[in-house]
Structure formats: structure tokens, C-alpha cells
């Protein structure tokens, strides 16, 4: 708002106090991972790195945390790549081409965008069993990318709609193929949209819990979410230091990605994403 009231410092204090629980929670995560014990937010017994021994020693009865890290990277990267690629193709067609059933297709995408996909989980489990993709990373990747697809198509269609079309027109008239126009002219021009969707998809897949939890059984295919959850099931009230360290380890890429992609992300979180 253009006019700042004289009392704004009081407003600031109120909002900061209200935000303290969040700050407190993440402070706990950091302190606990680096201390022998944390009482409230007070480290007791001094700084130590013992909590991080899971990195080199592992945790009994579980695959190495590096396997889970690799699975998580593979999962997030492939979901993001698939989602960006497939939605940009569909968005281009919807934005630029005339074809029978176009309003219907766009309507379907919009309805699915608002539709709460998680209610389909039980049936998706069944579909994956029938397709023989249950308990495979491929299966979960396909499911995760599909469920976020309507959002991606809708977002990128907006970006394509915002482009002036003279350049594409010129290329087409000069004999470029549709694919060439899409690949060499369309995609580079909507780079901000691709980055926004890519960052969103990476974060969303990296944190994803319920899909791999339901669709993956074998521990060697665990993502970090499943790895940490299995520790929480066994170690709560026993070793908060270990849990906090694994949690922080799992969060590092999120923080990095958030700092890198923040300005692209605001587009998408502010634009009515599921939540």
C-alpha cells in the first residue's frame, strides 16, 4: 500500500511474533542436527557431528542413504523433465493450433486442474498393478508427472498465448515445420515459464510422500521421504538428533532450489496451485 501508517513498527512486531513458531521450528531442526541434545531450543552437551554418522555408517537394517538420495534425484529430475516436455507440447497445440474438439480438450485440462487428483490414488494403485508398473520408480514417475500435468499445460498455455506470433508465422511461411517452430522458436521464448514449471515440479516431486509411500514397497527403491519416514517410525523419542540430521540433509536441495528459483516460483504459487 502506498501510504505507510506511522504505527507500522507495531504492526511489524505483531507479524514477526506471529511468525516465530515457524522460525523456531526450523531453528530446532538445525540445532538438533548439530547437538548432542536440544531441550526446547537450548542445545545441551555441546556441538557434535555424531548425528551425521548415518552418512558414512548407514542405519541398521536400511539401504544406504545415498541410494535413497539417488532415487530422489532420479525421481525429481525425471518427473520435472517429463512434465515440462509433455505440457509444453500440449500447451503449444492448444495455444497455436485449430483442431476439432479443442474447446473440449481445454475444458478437460481446466477441470482436471481443479480436480483433486489424490482422490484417485486407490484406482491408480490398481491401474499400476495391471500395467505391471507397481513398485517401480517408472510407475511413480509417470503418475506424479501426470497428476501435475493439467497445471503445467494451463500455465504454459498462458505463456504461449502471451507471445507475439509474427516470428512463428514468418518461420512457418518460410517452410519451417511445426515441430521446428515449436522447438527452435516457441520453447526458447517461453523460458521463464519453463523455468517456473521446472522449479515447481522439482520441489513438488522432491517432497512427494504419499505416492511413493503407496506405490513403492522395496526399500532399495525408497526415496528420501520414505527413508526418513521409516526412521521416524522407529526412532521417535529415541534419537531426535539423527532424525533432525536426516531431515536437514533431505532439505538442503530444497533450500538451494528455493533461493535459486524463488522469483519464478512466486508466479506459480500465487497463481492458484493445488494446496
Amino acid at each position: 500500500m502506498p501510504l505507510r501508517p506511522r504505527s507500522w513498527p507495531f504492526v511489524a512486531i505483531a507479524v514477526v511474533v506471529l511468525s516465530l513458531p515457524i522460525v523456531g521450528g526450523y531453528t530446532w531442526l538445525l540445532l538438533s542436527s548439530l547437538s548432542r541434545e536440544v531441550h526446547g531450543l537450548l542445545p545441551v552437551g555441546g556441538f557434535h557431528l555424531e548425528n551425521w554418522r548415518f552418512l558414512w555408517e548407514g542405519v541398521e537394517g536400511r539401504p544406504s542413504v545415498w541410494v535413497a538420495l539417488g532415487n530422489s534425484f532420479l525421481f525429481a529430475a525425471l518427473v520435472a523433465a517429463l512434465e515440462v516436455f509433455v505440457s509444453s507440447m500440449a500447451a503449444y497445440a492448444i495455444s497455436r493450433m485449430r483442431f476439432p474438439g479443442r474447446p473440449l480438450y481445454l475444458g478437460l485440462v481446466l477441470v482436471l486442474h481443479a480436480f483433486p487428483a489424490v482422490s484417485l490414488l486407490i484406482a491408480i494403485f490398481y491401474v499400476l498393478r495391471v500395467l505391471g508398473l507397481f513398485d517401480t520408480l517408472t510407475g511413480v514417475i509417470l503418475v506424479k508427472a501426470s497428476l501435475d500435468l493439467p497445471l503445467g499445460i494451463w500455465l504454459l498455455k498462458g505463456f504461449f498465448d502471451g507471445l507475439s506470433w509474427e516470428v512463428e508465422m514468418a518461420a512457418l511461411v518460410d517452410g519451417a515445420s511445426r515441430w521446428g517452430t515449436f522447438w527452435r522458436i516457441g520453447l526458447p521464448l517461453i523460458r521463464p515459464g519453463l523455468l517456473a514449471l521446472g522449479t515447481f515440479a522439482l520441489l513438488s516431486a522432491w517432497g512427494e510422500f504419499i505416492l511413493p509411500y503407496t506405490l513403492i514397497v522395496s526399500s532399495r527403491r525408497w526415496t528420501l521421504a520414505l527413508y526418513l519416514q521409516s526412521l521416524i517410525g522407529d526412532f521417535t523419542f529415541v534419537d531426535y538428533g539423527l532424525l533432525a540430521a536426516v531431515g536437514l540433509y533431505y532439505m538442503v536441495p530444497v533450500i538451494a532450489l528455493f533461493l535459486l528459483g524463488q522469483r519464478y516460483l512466486l508466479n506459480i504459487y500465487g497463481g492458484g496451485v493445488k494446496g
Partner: protein, 297 residues
């Protein structure tokens, strides 16, 4: 002909994924909900028609689960919209840098992996000497099992509030500055400006956020599953979507009742379809589907 096939080529991958993971599952949910599919009958389920739905109507837990669901959706919604509004307005009154940083803090729970986020909650609410709440209040107890509903609503609310916050903030930024100057010249206080100028202009964004979050809360259960798993005790914080999940996937009774779970999910799927179609109408669909501009044959 060439036009059709070329559009078809661009749409093919998306169409296949939508077919396999949206359309087929919708049909499968409805079909499975009319079978007695379970761990015991996985290879040869039999058709039971509306039997599962009748079971749901007769179950002694259905009433409680409905009440829990209503309570969850309403209270989290109230928190999300109210807190989102409060944060958007107050941070807009602050210097830009400070306002931006506070909004960034409120975004962190949303991007935190759910498992880590809930781990933090569980630790904060645990007994002394570890739990922060036990330390601050001087009363050592497990606050999560003592106040499960407070925890469920706050844990979901801290995440949901950021959606409203962002949408309302950008709506506030689009209000023409003249309106604020005019109000100031008329001698309006900040509070009066908020009530008479800002809030009326936020009516549509507020309705949008409310509508959008009602549907997603109705079907969401991930954070409850991680935080209380429907407990403590029997069905204390069990909501409809979580109950569907439990019926289909948990083996407490040695037999996951997949068909019955599908029947509960089918109720949500049907509500989801009806409500999303209603939103579509509200979004002035005709404007969105105007014909594309680049068209060469």
C-alpha cells in the same frame, strides 16, 4: 487432414498420460467401488452393486468421520483465509524488504517436504526435556496426543495460509494508488482504509481462495496421515479421505478392503468432478477458449 494429425502429434503424450492416470482411474474408482475386492479376493473379486455404499451408510463410524471432515475443512479453511488475509494486509503496510522477508518465511512450510515438516511438529509437541511447547509452558506432556485437533489444524493451516497470502498480496498491489490517496485526504484512518477500500476489492480473490481450498482440503489427508494417522485412539482425527486410504491400504484387520475404500474415494471423485465443472463455469470459460491466432494450413 494434415492439421489434425499435427495437432494430434503434439497432444499425444499428454493425452496418453491423462487417459491412463486420470480418466481410467476415475472409471476404475467407480467400478471397483461396486466390487468386494480385498486382499482375500484380489484375483477374483465379485460384483456387489451398491453393497459397499450401503455398508458405509450403516457403519457406526460414518457419522463421526463426516463430523471430523466438516470440522477439518471448516477450521483449516477459516485459518487459511483469515491468516492469509491478515498476512497480506499487514505485510503490505511494512517496508517492502521487511514485508517480502516475512512472506518468504511463510512460504517455507509449503516447500518443506511433508515428512520433514511433520517431524518438526512432532518434536515441538513432545514431552520435556525435548519439546519446545513443554519447555515454554513448564508442563511436560505429549501435546500431540493431548490436543490432536489443534495440532492437525495448525499444521495444515501454516501451510495453507501462504496461498491466500500470495494471492491477496498481489491483488492489493493492483489496487490503484489514487484510491489510497483519496481515502487519506478524506481523513480515513489506516483501519478504515483497510475496511472500506481494501477488503471490498479483495472480494473475488477471497472467494476464489475459499472455493479452491474447500475442494483440496476435502480430499487431502497427507499431513494428517503423517501427524496423527487418524488417532490417537479410534477415529479421533480420521477424515473421509484418510478413511478411504486406510480401508484400501492398511492391514490392521489382516484384510485391506479395497472395494470399500474405493466406494469412499468414489464419493470424493464425484464431488470433485461436480465442483471442478462448477468452477469452470465460474471462470468465464468462453473467453478462455477463443480460437488460436497462429494458423497456417
Amino acid at each position: 487432414m494434415r492439421r489434425v494429425s499435427s495437432a494430434g502429434f503434439f497432444l499425444l503424450p499428454a493425452s496418453l498420460l491423462i487417459l491412463f492416470f486420470f480418466l481410467l482411474p476415475v472409471a476404475a474408482t467407480l467400478l471397483l467401488s461396486m466390487t468386494d475386492l480385498s486382499t482375500a479376493t484380489f484375483s477374483r473379486p465379485s460384483w456387489v452393486g451398491m453393497g459397499n455404499y450401503l455398508d458405509l451408510l450403516r457403519s457406526r463410524w460414518t457419522g463421526l468421520i463426516l463430523k471430523n471432515t466438516a470440522q477439518y475443512v471448516l477450521l483449516v479453511l477459516l485459518f487459511n483465509v483469515g491468516m492469509g488475509l491478515f498476512l497480506a494486509i499487514t505485510t503490505s503496510l511494512l517496508p517492502d524488504r521487511l514485508g517480502d522477508s516475512i512472506r518468504a518465511v511463510w512460504l517455507v512450510p509449503r516447500i518443506t517436504p511433508p515428512v520433514v515438516y511433520i517431524l518438526i511438529w512432532q518434536a515441538m509437541l513432545s514431552e520435556a526435556p525435548y519439546g519446545l511447547l513443554s519447555t515454554l509452558t513448564g508442563t511436560s506432556r505429549n501435546w500431540l496426543s493431548g490436543f490432536p485437533w489443534h495440532a492437525v489444524i495448525l499444521a495444515n493451516g501454516l501451510i495453507g495460509a501462504s496461498l491466500g497470502m500470495l494471492i491477496f498480496t498481489s491483488a492489493i498491489h493492483t489496487i490503484p494508488p489514487d484510491l489510497f490517496y483519496a481515502a487519506a485526504i478524506d481523513g480515513a484512518t489506516t483501519w478504515q482504509t483497510i475496511r472500506r477500500v481494501v477488503l471490498p476489492l479483495l472480494r473475488w480473490p477471497i472467494m476464489f481462495v475459499t472455493a479452491y481450498q474447500t475442494l483440496s482440503l476435502l480430499t487431502s489427508f497427507e499431513y494428517i496421515l503423517l501427524l496423527t494417522d487418524g488417532g490417537p485412539g479410534l477415529y479421533t482425527t480420521e477424515v473421509w479421505a484418510l478413511s478411504a486410504y486406510h480401508l484400501a491400504f492398511s492391514n490392521y484387520y489382516g484384510n485391506a478392503r479395497f472395494g470399500l475404500g474405493a466406494a469412499m474415494a468414489a464419493v470424493l471423485v464425484i464431488i470433485g468432478i461436480v465442483v471442478s465443472v462448477a468452477y469452470l463455469r465460474g471462470f468465464r470459460f468462453r473467453e478462455l477458449v477463443q480460437e488460436p491466432r497462429v494458423e497456417v494450413t
